[in-house]
């Protein structure tokens, strides 16, 4: 196990390096310039000298290899640099938003798992009955409904019938849990529904497969109750693919809530990403990509550990 952990940690280094090179090259291939956007996009008359001075100040007049080397040197010191748009440290820009995105992702995951496990189990155990059909409709509808669209419907419903919107500014959980939940509950529901549909289908099919196994038949023959068989034998073994789906969806949510954050005006990582790309804020895009990549790597690493914990047959040595 220790060897596995060390090997996985060492593998993150080339992964990070590949992500860094790819992102650095890609953002510079896209046409557009942060300085022009900043100084000219409002229609103001600015001399070419001012534009050049600003480019020089941001280091954009240096050769690309030099800009990359400077960035790498900063990373080696643990310094992500400063945003070219706001001048604020990138760690600060990201940490402000990461809290909201993480909290939303956790809330959506809780909702998804709370729905998916009982529904998926019920559908598998009562296969072919009206319960199974109802769950199938629920999950297919969830898969077919984009989260942002559900979010818009929720907002319209709240606004039309109650003249109420979730709070537009973020309140941290420890400051005011009620205000925090009022803001995040609706987007979490919108995201969690789709997420739960994926997990429900996975739970159902995995459980159906396990229920056909010999050891389950043996358990029946031994006279165990259906609840005991499902809870103690089948569900635990069926959880592996479900955990994989839930984990990867969670990792995706950290940076993937772009549209939902726009709909609910949430100040999260997704919104920051959109702004950074629109502004051609190279340093911020690079920093964000690394953080999101780190999130993916961390989650998949933790997933591997959870596999081993759930299924003792999994061996890493």
């Amino acid at each position: 196990m220790t060897r596995f952990v060390i090997r996985r940690l060492l593998l993150t280094v080339p992964t990070f390096l590949a992500v860094a090179v790819l992102v650095f090259v890609l953002v510079r291939v896209v046409p557009g310039d942060i300085v022009e956007l900043r100084l000219v996009s409002g229609g103001t008359f600015v001399t070419p000298g001012v534009v050049e001075a600003e480019r020089a100040r941001l280091g954009l007049n240096k050769p690309l290899w030099r800009q990359f080397a400077d960035w790498m040197a900063g990373l080696a010191r643990g310094d992500l640099g400063v945003s070219m748009w706001s001048g604020q440290p990138i760690t600060r820009e990201i940490s402000l938003r990461l809290q909201l995105s993480l909290e939303l992702a956790v809330l959506a995951t809780v909702i998804a798992v709370a729905l998916a496990l009982p529904l998926g189990t019920a559908a598998a155990v009562r296969r072919g009955t009206w319960v199974d059909h109802a769950v199938q409709v629920f999950s297919v509808a969830g898969l077919a409904t984009p989260s942002f669209w559900l979010g818009i419907l929720l907002l319209l419903f709240l606004l039309t019938y109650f003249r109420w919107l979730p709070p537009l500014t973020f309140t941290p959980l420890w400051k005011d849990p009620r205000a925090n939940l009022l803001q995040l509950l609706w987007p979490a529901l919108a995201v969690g529904y789709r997420y739960s549909a994926v997990a429900t289908r996975m739970t159902r099919s995995a459980l159906l497969e396990v229920l056909r196994e010999d050891y389950v038949r043996t358990a029946w023959a031994k006279g165990l109750t259906r609840e005991d068989i499902v809870r103690r034998h089948a569900l635990r073994n069926a959880l592996l693919p479900v955990v994989a789906v839930v984990g990867l969806e969670f990792a995706f949510l950290i940076g993937g809530l772009v549209v939902t954050e726009q709909v609910f005006n949430l100040n999260g990582i997704g919104k920051l990403f959109v702004d950074a790309v629109a502004h051609r804020d190279y340093t911020l895009i690079q920093g964000l990509m690394l953080v999101v990549a780190a999130g993916y790597i961390l989650v998949t690493f933790l997933l591997d550990l959870v596999y081993a914990w759930i299924d003792p047959r999994v061996s890493y040595d």
Binding site: L37, G43, R57, G87, R97, A278
Partner: protein
């Protein structure tokens, strides 16, 4: 009786009479300003740095301007009147080359330190003569200034190189925030990340991407102001979310402008709880032709393109769905330099007989050797309101003289890059500024070696000469004539670039918002006189 002892009595009499007259003059039902409350408004973009001397977006002005004062400012209730702000008065020397401003006494920065002429000089030195790696986006506007002096704590003197008709208005620029000299001396970049002015509101909090908060400056130098306890700016990018914020009562107003459809949606939802103010806007859409490419290098072709556009019909149709409406030339319709309609209709593309104009356009196309069905691309930015509406209208108008135009829409950064590189046939362009003066409005159209915003790539020394002459002309009538000549040359004879329609500001706001009057610029709100009735 000693005349000195009689004066106070006369003064009391005059004041009493004035007060009575004032009371009579107050219209029935008008409310006295109420103190208190927090104004909440929406800002649709995020400010970059916090230094107005280097930035160019309303996203900085709206949340941050209330923390600062200017030397002189445009009166938000009587635009374009220039009124005192930190300067209590000013004089101009007979030769027009020296402007002397007397600075108010008793003004204090939010840290308690007194403001003096030294702070004004330091701020203007940073704007006009930036040193090192300090960037000033407005340096070009003040090319006329020779030097700025502060001979004593209450006097600031600007010495000009030549007479300038627009100098006072350009000093009233809403971007010229007065900073503290000591802070600038310690670090000229300090104001990029910090806030500290003399304005009606003190800085409380800025959560990036979320909100900005200001609270009343109890020591503000204008007695009894501001009325508000404070304000909160909410950063909301999505148009639908902005409308929802107002409909739900979580925000009172958005100070830039909504579309007609958004206005109607808000009014439908809130009825008489909402008031709508509308005004002309110092912004417009133009079309720039790439004169480095054929046949755009031929004035006959460019003239045909402007002749084909029914601006009057377009104004009626597009104003139903987009925030464009006024038909105008190079100066804002309704503004002090606007071209009267009887002159406007004589310019190519502004006549009332569109059939005749299009017949002339077809004749010019044939003369220029442009065949029926000729195709070209119209570059545009991916901002629906009003850019995409305007472009679709243009494409339809040009189709009616037998041209086939493809709409190429790019996001702003890529669009600007293409414009700068000359990578387009024709492009929907724009102008947006804070004052009507021709110096600001016409500078973009100078020859390419003088104006970096001339994306068409043409050289026209007659335009350059007319610009300089009007800028130095002190006689308003003669200046206006020069502006007309410039307009005729630009839009009609050479048709280097053309105007489509000017924009219209539409501001629906909660009826509780008082003391606010929409003006033709969205850069002027300082919240000093705004109040809430509930």
């Amino acid at each position: 009786m000693d005349p000195w002892t009689r004066r106070p009595r006369r003064w009391v009499l005059v004041m009493t009479a004035g007060l009575l007259l004032g009371l009579v003059a107050v219209p029935t039902g008008a409310q006295a300003p109420r103190r208190g409350g927090t104004l909440v408004f929406v800002v649709s973009a995020e400010p970059p740095s916090l230094d107005a001397h280097r930035e160019a977006t309303f996203a900085l002005i709206h949340p941050t301007r209330p923390h600062y004062n200017l030397l002189v400012k445009f009166d938000p209730l009587n635009y374009p009147k220039v009124v005192p702000d930190l300067a209590e008065s000013w004089t101009v020397s007979p030769d027009g080359l020296t402007y002397t401003f007397k600075i108010r006494r008793g003004v204090r920065f939010h840290d308690g330190s007194p403001l003096t002429a030294r702070d004004i000089k330091a701020s203007y030195d940073k704007i006009i003569f930036p040193t090192g790696d300090v960037v000033s986006a407005r340096k070009a506007v003040y090319e006329v200034v020779e030097r700025v002096d502060a001979p004593d704590p209450t006097t600031v003197v600007f010495t000009l190189k030549w007479r300038s008709a627009s100098f006072l208005a350009s000093v009233a620029s809403p971007w010229n925030w007065i900073y503290k000299a000591d802070l600038l001396a310690q670090d000229p970049h300090w104001y990029e990340r910090n806030v500290m002015g003399t304005g009606p509101f003190r800085f409380v909090e800025y959560a990036r991407g979320s909100h900005w908060v200001g609270t009343r400056n109890e020591a503000y130098f204008v007695r009894g102001r501001p009325y508000l306890d404070g304000y909160r700016a909410l950063f909301i990018r999505s148009g639908a979310a902005q409308v929802n914020a107002i409909k739900s009562g979580q925000a009172h107003v958005e100070f830039r402008g909504f579309s007609p459809a958004q206005r109607d949606e808000i009014v439908r939802a809130l009825g008489d709880k909402i008031r709508v103010q509308e005004s002309g806007w110092l912004c417009n859409n133009t079309v720039v032709f790439n004169t480095r490419r054929r046949p755009f290098d031929d004035a006959r072709f460019r003239r045909a393109l402007t002749l084909a556009i029914d601006r009057w019909g377009g104004s009626r149709a597009l104003s139903q769905i987009a925030f464009v409406e006024p038909v105008g030339g190079v100066m804002r319709p309704g503004g002090p330099y606007a071209t009267p309609e009887e002159d406007l209709v004589k310019l190519a593309g502004y006549g009332r007989d569109i059939a005749a104009a299009r017949a002339e356009a077809r004749r010019l196309l044939a003369e220029a050797g442009v065949p029926e069905g000729f195709s070209f691309e119209l570059l545009n930015r991916n901002i629906q309101m009003p850019y995409e509406f305007v472009a679709i209208y243009l494409i339809d108008q040009w189709r009616q003289i037998g041209l086939n135009v493809r709409h190429v829409v790019k996001e702003t950064a890529a669009y600007l890059a293409d414009e700068r590189a000359g990578n387009f046939d024709a492009a929907v362009d724009f102008n947006c500024d804070f004052y009507d003066d021709p110096d600001a409005q016409l500078v973009k159209f100078l020859s390419a070696d003088k104006s970096p915003l001339n994306y068409g790539g043409y050289t026209d020394r007659i335009l350059d000469r007319l610009y300089t002459e009007q800028s130095r002309e002190q006689d308003p009538a003669r200046r206006l004539r020069l502006v007309r000549q410039f307009e005729k040359r630009l839009l009609d004879e050479r048709a280097w670039q053309i105007y489509v329609l000017w924009w219209k500001r539409i501001i629906p706001h909660w009826a509780t918002l008082q003391g606010y009057k929409v003006g033709p610029s969205h850069y002027l709100e300082d919240l000093q006189d705004v109040w809430l009735s509930e």
